[in-house]
């Protein structure tokens, strides 16, 4: 039986593994579908992770995390967890049909981009509609693209796209931005970025080769924007499916958005079950916060395993 199973290998899961093993837990496995690193590896630049003073890409930021975090005995298993259940101990059902027992579990499955909900979004996802500028921006070199959203990610990725594309239309439903003032200023100063404010995307259209354009509704006025690429950054949904039980209830308490309710020690209402990072209630959705949560959750898991 494992002392601790960690689900997810982003900043929260990796840091939890580091603290748990360095703190003395012996049998600790981190389940991560692929190479550890998490969603930040999609970011074109990170300038707010303290201690890393240069502006780096998300991939560069995460480069040495796995090595450091596995130095004290953390094991990574490249497997997907389907469900976490609780009997006497915790039971993890894996994607390949195996089950694993653990005394304690930290859920650090993070979040995935939210759909904006316009017509044609799913149909053209991956064929013009994208949620990753660093991945797909290259396919729109010297072409015009649109970005939907008004937060930090939307604005930062607009700046990244403006380096590659001939023009970036930034579509935002308000006329004010939630993003950091410094970023808003950089976007305003960029001649390649044009604002379409107080507007939303109504529909995406195209043919069998992919997206050809989007219909925008700007306070009742329709705009037909002929762009082959639309990048959607309208927030994130938490990945909580591993907590769903057979009867579709959740293993522990979650709020109305499905975010896991924890206390300041990252404890859920189920003893031995912890949550860390983007998945938890009131998460700041930042790498530094996810890492900090992972450390806290690991310290709580150590106490739990020692006391039980």
């Amino acid at each position: 039986m494992l002392d601790l199973a960690i689900v997810g290998g982003g900043p929260a899961g990796l840091t939890a593994g580091l603290y748990a093993t360095r703190g003395g837990l012996k049998n600790v496995v981190m389940y991560e579908k692929g190479m550890p690193g998490g969603q930040i590896t999609q970011s074109s630049e990170v300038e707010n992770y303290p201690g890393v003073c240069k502006v780096v890409t998300g991939m560069e930021l995460m480069e040495c995390w796995p090595e450091q975090c596995m130095r004290f005995g953390l094991k990574h298993e490249m497997k997907e967890v389907k469900r976490v259940k609780k009997e006497k101990n915790f039971i993890l059902e894996l994607g390949n049909g195996e089950t694993v027992k653990a005394k304690s579990v930290i859920v650090a499955t993070g979040s995935t981009p939210k759909r904006a909900g316009f017509e044609g979004e799913d149909e053209f996802l991956g064929r013009g509609v994208s949620t990753c500028a660093t991945c797909d921006g290259f396919f729109y070199k010297d072409k015009e693209v649109a970005v939907l959203g008004g937060g930090d990610t939307a604005l930062e990725e607009s700046l990244y796209l403006a380096n590659i594309c001939s023009k970036v239309y930034l579509i935002h439903r308000r006329d004010q931005f939630r993003a950091a003032p410094a970023t808003v200023q950089r976007v305003k100063n960029n001649p390649k970025i044009e604002f379409i404010l107080n507007a939303k995307v109504k529909k995406a259209y195209g043919n069998n080769m992919g997206l050809e354009g989007v219909i925008i509704d700007q306070q009742g006025k329709e705009i037909d924007l002929k762009v082959p690429g639309l990048f959607v950054f309208v927030g994130m949904n938490v990945n909580n499916s591993v907590l769903k039980q057979e009867d579709s209830s959740f293993l522990c308490e979650v709020n109305e958005w499905g975010e896991v309710i924890v206390d300041l020690k990252m404890r859920t209402n189920i003893p031995g079950l912890f949550a860390a990072g983007d998945i938890r209630v009131d998460a700041s959705k930042q790498v530094v916060c996810a890492a900090a949560d992972g450390a806290t959750a690991a310290l709580s898991a150590i106490s739990f395993v020692r006391e039980s």
Partner: protein, 106 residues
């Protein structure tokens, strides 16, 4: 140890012609592509002699990417005897790729 086949303009058609072939379109700057890279390595090993596991670096082989209308990576195409039979967009777990391959190997 089985290894994946690196595809380019000169070996692409030849490679997809026979049997079941899984092709991962990727690029070095793409986070989700990097995430599934070790999964692809393991699949190449496990399916040695059964299916061909291949990769196209879209940064270097833009013509192949254009030919298949690739606009998002990772995109994974599945061929059977030269015919495109299935495709997936975005990172996924090994079990998902295995299910697709096993279904095609039938």
């Amino acid at each position: 140890m089985g290894k994946y086949v690196e595809l380019n303009a000169s070996n692409f058609d030849e490679t997809i012609k026979n049997g079941v072939v899984m092709v991962d379109f990727w690029a070095p700057w793409c986070g989700p592509c990097r995430m599934i890279a070790p999964v692809i390595d393991e699949l190449a090993n496990e399916y040695e002699g059964k299916a061909t596991i291949a990769k196209v670096n879209t940064d270097e082989e833009q013509d192949i990417a254009i030919r298949f209308g690739i606009r998002s990576i990772p995109t994974i195409l599945f061929f059977k005897d030269g015919q495109l039979v299935d495709q997936m967009i975005g990172a996924a777990s090994k079990d998902v790729f295995k299910q697709k391959l096993d279904a095609l190997l039938g």
